[in-house]
Symmetry: C2
Subunit: 290 residues, 2 copies
């Protein structure tokens, strides 16, 4: 964990945000409150107008050339657009500009972006809301939330420090990790739960006895509600996570399947003490993830 102190006075920076959706919008609001200059770029003119109106930017336009004078650029576009955006920025930003992103998968993106722009530092603020547009932006969503910064061997520490300093100012708990450790960790705690939870929903939906299916809908209560929540979330986002983090997710799914089979075997062979022991360990260890 970084020891950068949030109370240390921070220089006023000119920060660029490319992509003014929910995360870009929240970031702009916080950065402006902290006294930074925020230059925003969005694809659609309506988004540019809304961003200015909502005060999430100091200045905004559809033209990426606005990034010519910024110290740090946050790319807040969908994942597929991150590397193409870095490519476009090459012609625009000064050599000293640090480029970072907020994508939830890092391996391929960090490798490709760093090859294009050595001052690239992968980031991943684990914050958000169930809503997904600029209109839902609000102050303080990064506060207390983890932000994982992912330097690779060639990343310059001075660039990492700039991104860490801003993340710390936003109130995030900043961790650093390699892109590959990051992708394996988020596969386990974020992408795997989506598939585990969606499979639970499909199990209930595929009940062939109509009476049982209806009764299950009537009796389902808080336990089912919680366990099925992320499986019933945004399908586009779930698919994109799987697509971008495919190897790590497949590995996590295989490990999960092994653990599931172990519990099935304990139940199948009436090993009740061993089952209780396994549930005991789950109960004891869970608080470490909260």
């Amino acid at each position: 964990m970084s020891s950068t102190d949030a109370l240390t006075p921070q220089p006023t920076r000119t920060v660029g945000i490319v992509g003014l959706g929910l995360i870009g919008g929240c970031l702009g609001l916080d950065l402006r409150r902290l006294g930074h200059w925020v230059y925003g770029v969005a694809r659609r003119p309506a988004t540019v107008a809304a961003a200015s109106e909502q005060g999430v930017v100091t200045q905004a336009t559809c033209n990426l050339s606005l990034m010519a004078e910024v110290d740090v650029v946050f790319i807040c576009t969908p994942m597929a657009t991150i590397v193409p955006t870095v490519r476009q920025l090459l012609e625009i930003v000064p050599a000293s500009t640090v480029v970072t992103d907020v994508g939830s998968v890092k391996g391929e993106i960090v490798a490709a972006a760093t090859a294009l722009w050595p001052n690239f530092v992968g980031g991943h603020p684990m914050a958000g809301k169930s809503e997904s547009g600029l209109a839902d932006s609000e102050l303080g969503v990064f506060r207390q939330s983890p932000n994982d910064v992912k330097p690779i061997e060639t990343t310059r520490s001075v660039d990492v420090e700039q991104v860490v300093a801003i993340a710390t100012q936003l109130g995030s708990q900043v961790y650093t990790a390699t892109p590959s450790a990051h992708d394996r960790a988020v596969a386990a705690i974020s992408h795997l739960p989506v598939m585990v939870s969606a499979s639970l929903l499909h199990t209930c939906l595929n009940e062939s006895d109509v009476q049982v299916k209806t009764l299950a809908q009537q009796l389902a209560s808080s336990g089912f509600c919680d366990t099925s929540r992320v499986g019933g979330g945004n399908p586009e986002l779930g698919t994109m996570m799987a697509q971008y983090n495919r190897p790590a997710l497949l590995e996590a799914l295989q490990q999960y399947r092994y653990q599931l089979d172990t519990l099935i075997e304990l139940i199948n062979t009436n090993q009740w003490d061993a089952l209780e022991q396994a549930l005991n360990i789950a109960q004891q260890e869970r608080p470490k993830y909260l």
Copy 2:
């Protein structure tokens, strides 16, 4: 769903409660508020004293003979003690007394209890709190919660109506179903989620790379918290559910494994449109279970 109207004036009944834990305690509080006489029996003298002090009973003792004059007996003991309690009651209660229970698995219990006492009606109020003792009893926990009443072919409708009338007075949404439909439904929406969720925790706990394991603990947020909640719950209760509902749970686990393998195959073969479609269905159908 029963059409018994909660506003219809109900006769004052003498209701027995055997087992004064959380559910027995909550039931006593509500029944007394509704004007019924509540006779409670607990194994330990200290529980009897506490129940009287907390006002959950009109009268309490350790002696089951207190049930000699009650109209309806609710057995609120752990599942293993339900049928043995029915056996003990045979010698005590009048032939007209209706005996019901609150156990979360019904097939074997309803069959065995009905064979002993024809006026047995299986019940399952789906209410509770994370706490588990008499001291945590409170008013109104059954309000708005489903209560599944499970008559079998030989169950007399007049007995069912008595149990339904009380459950309706408590504010529960009352459903009737066969014990086997009940057990399959709760396997899917209550017992399966525990195993699904515990397997997720064990997947993370068995991560062999310490850096990844620690990072996963640092980055885990609300999605992981919700998906892992029931897997980190009471190990004794989870084991008992599996033990008592073993055939239905094993069947649900096999169905779940099939659904999980289907999603794994979609990811493995890069079928992103099909994956998004599956997640779409999960999103669209989930509200039916809330």
